[in-house]
C-alpha cells in the first residue's frame, strides 16, 4: 500500500482525487488547494471532507445561528457560551451545570439499537469533556405512526439501545418525549440530552495550550467502525490484505464509557489536564484540529502510535474513524506518568500520540512520513459558510387558511366525553411507561422528579438540596403552521414545564431537526425557527447555551415536520420544595391559570381528525413570564401543592394525567363563560393547573393579581376514583385502561 505523503502530493499535482464522493463540492476542493498551495494528501482530503461536512461545520446553519449570540439576553448565569462542547451555567453556591441535546437520527434509522446507544454515548462525552460529572439523560424521540410496521422495528430498538447504554452507564433517564407523526416514518428523530454538574473551578475547555505539552488519546481502541464514505479513499485496499469493512453505524461499549467517565473525572480532579476534547463525529481529525485551533495553534501527531483494534487500517481510516468511547487530553510532560497510572487503575488504555507546538500547523506523521501539514483553523473553524437561499413556500398561505374551523366539533356532553377519551388513548397522549420503564431512573440516588412529571429534576448538592430541573419540548405541527411561532411555543412549553416544578428557568439548549437545507422552503422554516427562538429567549431572559442542528431529515422530497426541540434548564435552591404534578389531598382546590381561547390549529384533537392547518395558538411570552413567576413564587411560599402544565390535549388531558398520577379523582366544573369543548381540549399556551389548600385562596389570588395572571377556580379534589366534568365523567379505571394500553398493545411481542 502506497502512502500519500505531502512530498508525493507536491510532486504529483495532477492525481485525480475522489473529493466528490466524499461530499466536497468543486469550489470547496479548489479552496483546499488554495489553502495548502498544492493538492491535499488523501489524509488531508479525508480530514477536510469530514470537518467541512454539514454535520461538523454547520455550513448551512452558521449564518442563522449567529442570532443566538447577537440576541443573547443580559445574564450573569452563562459561564461558558456557544462554541464549546457544551455551554455552562452558574446555578449558585459555586456549582455549575452543563447541558446539551444532540441528534442521532440517521444512524438510529439504519440500526436502531446502536444508533440510539451511541447517541447517548456521544452526548455524555460532550458533557464530560467540560469537566462535569454527567448526572442525568433525557431522550426526545419521534417516530412514524404507532401502527406503522416500521415503527415496530425502530421504536423498540431505539428504546432498548437507550436503555442498554444509559442503564449500563449508570445515568438516570429522567424524561423526554415520545411523539408519533407520519412525517417521521422514514426518518425517526432520536435526540439525546445530557446534563452534568461540576464546581466552578473544574470547568475545562477544549484547547491545546502550552508548547511541549503532550497529546494523549485514551479510552477504546480505534477500529474501522463509522468510517462511512472515506472508504473510497482506501479503495486500493479492497483486497484480501485490506481492513475488513465495517458498518458505518458505530457500535457502542457502555462499560468502556463508564470507565472513561470515572478515569476522566479522576484525572481532571487531580489537576492533570490542561485541555480536553471528546472524540465523536470525525474522530481524531476533529479532536486534533479543534484542540490545536483553540490553543497554541500548532500540534504534531505520530499517527502510527494510535492503538488499533484492526492493524490493517489505513491512516485515512484512522483519522476518520468514529470508534466510540475515546477522549483526547492535553497533559504536561511532568504529569504524564500520573495521568497514565490513573488510566491504568481504571483499566483504560492511554497513549501519547503527539505534542503541542507553536508551528501554527497541524502536522501528522505515519511511520516517519509526513501525511498531513495544514493550518488547523482552516480545518476546524474556517470551513465554508453558505448563504442558502430561503423562501416562504407558496403553499404556506393555503395551509394557514385551512383552519380547523371546518371540522365538525363535539358539542354534547357525550360527544365531548368521547373526544376526551379518544385523546387520552391516542398515541401521542397515551402513557409512555412502556418506554420509560425500560430506563433506570433511580441510579445515583438524586432523582427527585422523573417522567411522567413535567420536568426531570435531580439534586446536585446533597447537603443544601440545590438542584436542577430540565424539560424538552416541541410540537412540530405548530412549527409547520408557523415556524417562528412554533419554535417560540416549544420554548414556552419547556419553560413552563420547568416552572411548574418550582424551579426558575435559567438556560436553553436546542436540537434543530429539519429537512434538506438545499430546499428553500425548508431553509425558510429553519431561519424562521431560529429567529423565533432567539427572539423568544431574549424576551424570556434566558440564553441559548448551545445545541445541535440536524438537516436532511427527509424521505425523498418530503421533509419531516420542522422540529426545533427546545430544552430548558432551571435551578431550584432546595429540591425538597419541588412541586409535584398531581394532588394528594381530598378537599384541595383546583385552579386554572391563564386564558383559554378557541385555539385548535395544530392541536392534538385536529391531528386525530387527520387535519393540519390554520395557525398555532397565540404566543404571549410576557404572559409566560408572569405565569412562571406565580408558579415559582407559589412554590417558594408554599402556597402551591401541585402544578401541571396545560398543553397537548388541553385542560381535560392535563386533569386526566393528574388524576391517574394521584389515583384519586376530582370534581371539575366547566365555567359558564366558555364553550365546553374549548375549555376541555383547546391548546392555548401560557396555562397551568394548580392545586392549593382551600384556605390559601387569598394568597393565590394575590400572587396572580401581582403578576396579572388570569385565575379561575375549576374544581375540587375528591376521595373517589372518578374524574367528573359536571355533565359527564370517567371512572379512573377506564381512563387508566385507555391511557396505558395503546403503546404496549401496538408493540407487543
Amino acid at each position: 500500500m502506497t502512502i500519500d505523503t505531502v512530498d508525493r502530493a507536491e510532486s504529483s499535482p495532477d492525481v485525480s482525487q475522489p473529493y466528490a464522493d466524499l461530499g466536497l463540492k468543486d469550489d470547496e476542493y479548489a479552496r483546499i488547494h488554495e489553502i495548502l498551495g498544492r493538492r491535499p494528501t488523501s489524509s488531508e482530503l479525508a480530514m477536510y471532507s469530514v470537518m467541512w461536512s454539514e454535520h461538523c461545520s454547520y455550513k448551512s446553519s452558521k449564518v442563522h445561528l449567529r442570532l443566538f449570540g447577537e440576541k443573547k439576553p443580559e445574564t450573569d448565569a452563562l459561564l461558558v457560551g456557544i462554541g464549546e462542547n457544551a455551554g455552562v451555567v452558574d446555578i449558585g453556591d459555586g456549582w455549575a451545570v452543563t447541558f446539551k441535546v444532540e441528534s442521532h437520527n440517521h444512524p438510529s434509522y439504519v440500526e436502531p439499537y446502536q444508533g440510539a446507544a451511541t447517541g447517548i454515548g456521544g452526548i455524555v462525552r460532550d458533557i464530560l469533556s467540560m469537566g462535569a460529572r454527567p448526572i442525568a439523560v433525557m431522550d426526545p424521540l419521534r417516530f412514524g405512526p404507532l401502527d406503522a410496521p416500521d415503527t415496530a422495528r425502530v421504536l423498540p430498538g431505539v428504546v432498548a439501545g437507550i436503555g442498554g447504554y444509559g442503564n449500563c452507564l449508570g445515568l438516570p433517564n429522567i424524561g423526554g418525549e415520545v411523539i408519533f407523526d407520519p412525517s417521521y416514518a422514514g426518518n425517526p428523530l432520536v435526540n439525546a440530552l445530557c446534563v452534568g454538574a461540576m464546581r466552578h473551578e473544574d470547568i475545562h475547555l477544549a484547547s491545546a495550550k502550552g508548547v511541549g505539552n503532550l497529546v494523549v488519546l485514551y479510552g477504546a481502541r480505534t477500529g474501522g467502525d463509522g468510517i462511512g464514505g472515506v472508504s473510497v479513499l482506501a479503495s486500493e485496499t479492497f483486497d484480501a490484505e485490506g481492513s475488513a469493512k465495517r458498518p458505518s453505524v458505530q457500535v457502542g461499549d457502555p462499560f468502556m464509557e463508564k470507565l472513561l467517565i470515572e478515569a476522566t473525572l479522576e484525572v481532571l480532579h487531580a489537576g492533570l489536564v490542561e485541555g480536553i476534547q471528546d472524540l465523536g463525529g470525525a474522530g481524531i481529525s476533529c479532536a486534533t484540529s479543534e484542540l490545536a485551533s483553540n490553543g497554541e495553534g500548532g500540534m504534531h501527531v505520530w499517527l502510527d502510535r494510535v492503538l488499533l483494534r484492526d492493524p490493517t487500517l489505513s491512516p485515512e481510516e484512522i483519522l476518520m474513524s468514529e470508534s466510540q468511547e475515546r477522549m483526547c487530553a492535553i497533559v504536561r510532560p511532568d504529569r504524564i506518568n500520573d495521568f497514565l497510572a490513573r488510566c491504568a487503575k481504571w483499566e483504560v488504555e492511554a497513549v501519547v500520540i503527539g505534542e503541542v507546538t507553536d508551528s501554527g500547523r497541524l502536522t501528522i506523521d505515519w511511520h516517519g512520513e509526513r501525511i498531513v501539514d495544514v493550518p488547523p483553523r482552516t480545518v476546524a473553524h474556517e470551513g465554508p459558510v453558505y448563504q442558502r437561499p430561503f423562501a416562504r413556500p407558496s403553499s404556506q398561505d393555503a395551509l394557514q387558511a385551512d383552519g380547523p374551523g371546518r371540522l365538525a366539533r363535539p358539542s354534547t356532553p357525550e360527544e365531548i366525553r368521547a373526544a376526551v377519551l379518544a385523546l387520552v388513548g391516542s398515541a401521542n397522549l397515551a402513557s409512555k411507561s412502556w418506554v420509560t420503564s425500560q430506563y433506570d431512573r433511580y441510579v445515583l440516588g438524586n432523582t427527585v422528579l422523573a417522567q411522567p412529571e413535567d420536568s426531570g429534576m435531580v439534586r446536585v448538592d446533597e447537603v443544601t438540596g440545590r438542584g436542577v430541573a430540565v424539560s424538552t419540548d416541541c410540537n412540530g405541527r405548530f412549527a409547520k403552521l408557523d415556524p417562528y411561532a412554533g419554535a417560540q411555543l416549544a420554548l414556552a412549553e419547556s419553560y413552563r414545564n420547568v416552572s411548574v416544578t418550582g424551579a426558575t428557568p435559567l438556560a436553553v439548549t436546542n436540537c434543530l431537526n429539519f429537512g434538506s437545507p438545499e430546499d428553500p422552503g425548508v431553509m425558510w422554516q429553519f431561519a424562521e425557527a431560529v429567529r423565533g427562538l432567539a427572539d423568544g429567549c431574549l424576551e424570556l431572559g434566558i440564553p441559548v447555551t448551545g445545541g445541535n442542528v440536524s438537516f436532511y431529515n427527509q424521505t425523498g422530497d418530503v421533509a419531516i415536520l420542522p422540529t426545533p426541540v427546545v430544552g430548558v434548564l432551571g435551578v431550584i435552591d432546595d429540591v425538597t420544595r419541588r412541586t409535584p404534578m398531581s394532588w394528594r389531598n381530598a378537599g384541595d382546590s383546583i385552579y386554572l391559570l391563564g386564558d383559554t381561547r378557541d385555539e385548535f390549529g395544530g392541536s392534538e384533537w385536529a391531528h386525530l381528525q387527520g387535519h393540519l392547518g390554520g395557525v398555532p395558538p397565540r404566543v404571549d411570552l410576557g404572559q409566560e413570564r408572569a405565569l412562571s413567576r406565580v408558579l415559582v413564587d407559589g412554590s417558594q411560599s408554599g402556597v402551591i401543592r401541585a402544578a401541571h402544565d396545560v398543553s397537548d390535549g388541553g385542560v381535560a388531558q392535563a386533569l386526566v394525567e393528574m388524576a391517574l398520577r394521584s389515583g384519586t379523582g376530582a370534581d371539575v366544573s366547566i365555567p359558564e363563560s366558555i364553550e365546553p369543548f374549548v375549555f376541555c381540549c383547546s391548546e392555548s399556551a401560557a396555562r397551568a393547573i394548580i392545586v392549593i389548600r382551600p384556605d390559601q385562596e387569598s394568597a393565590l389570588l394575590a400572587l396572580c393579581n401581582d403578576s396579572a395572571v388570569p385565575v379561575m377556580r375549576i374544581g375540587t379534589v375528591t376521595t373517589d376514583a372518578h374524574l367528573t366534568f359536571g355533565s359527564f365523567g370517567f371512572p379512573l379505571d377506564e381512563l387508566r385502561r385507555v391511557h396505558e394500553s395503546p403503546i404496549p398493545a401496538a408493540l407487543a411481542g
Binding site: N167, S437, G445
Partner: protein, 224 residues
Amino acid sequence: MKIGVVTFPGSLDDRDAARAVRIAGGEAVALWHGDDDLHGVDAVVLPGGFSYGDYLRCGAIARFAPIMQQVVDGARGGMPVLGICNGFQILCESHLLPGALTRNDHLHFICRDQRLRIENTTSAWTTSFAAGQEIVIPLKNGEGGFVADDATLDALEGEGRVIARYLEINPNGSRRDIAGICNERGNVVGLMPHPEHAVESLTGPTTDGLGFFTSVLSMVGSSR
C-alpha cells in the same frame, strides 16, 4: 460500625449503597475490586451495576476479582454480606448462594416500584422487618429471573431461606416469585430489588429499604 461497599469496574449503585449505609447510621467504607483487603469492615455490600460490562454472564467475571476471595472467606466465617441486583448475581456466581439469575422472561429491562413481602426476619439483613411485612422498593434489572432446580427451591422454602417474594406482579419470571434468598447461616443475602434506592422520601418511592441496613447495623452492633 463499618460497612464496606465494593466498587467493581462497572458498578453503578455503589454511591447509593454507601449513602444508604450512612443514612441508616453506619460508616460506609469504599472497597476496591483490585484490593485484597477488607480494611476491617464488619459487613460488605456488593452493589448493583454491570460489573465488567456483564458481557459474559452477569457477575461471572466479578467473581474472580481479588476482593472477592476476601468476601468469600469472610462470608464463610459469618460476616454479613448483601448482594443487590448485580451483587446477587455475583454471589450466585461465587457459589455463596444457590441458583442463578437469568434474562427477564419478557426480554426487556424493567424499572418499577415493586411491592414485596418479607418472608424471613432472622437473616442478618432483615431483622428490622416484621414477619410478612409488605414493602415497596425500586426494582431495575434486565437479568433478574431467579432460577434453580425444584429440589433447591424446595430446600430454600423448607429452610425459610426465601427472604422476600414479589407481590402483585412477578416482574422478571423468577421462580416462585422469589426476589431474594439467603445462605444456610443467614449472613449472606442476595436481593434483586434495590433497597438502597428507597432510603429517602425525596428520591425513593418509600423509605422501606432502610430496614435492610438497620438490620445489619443492629446485629453487628450487638455482637460487639
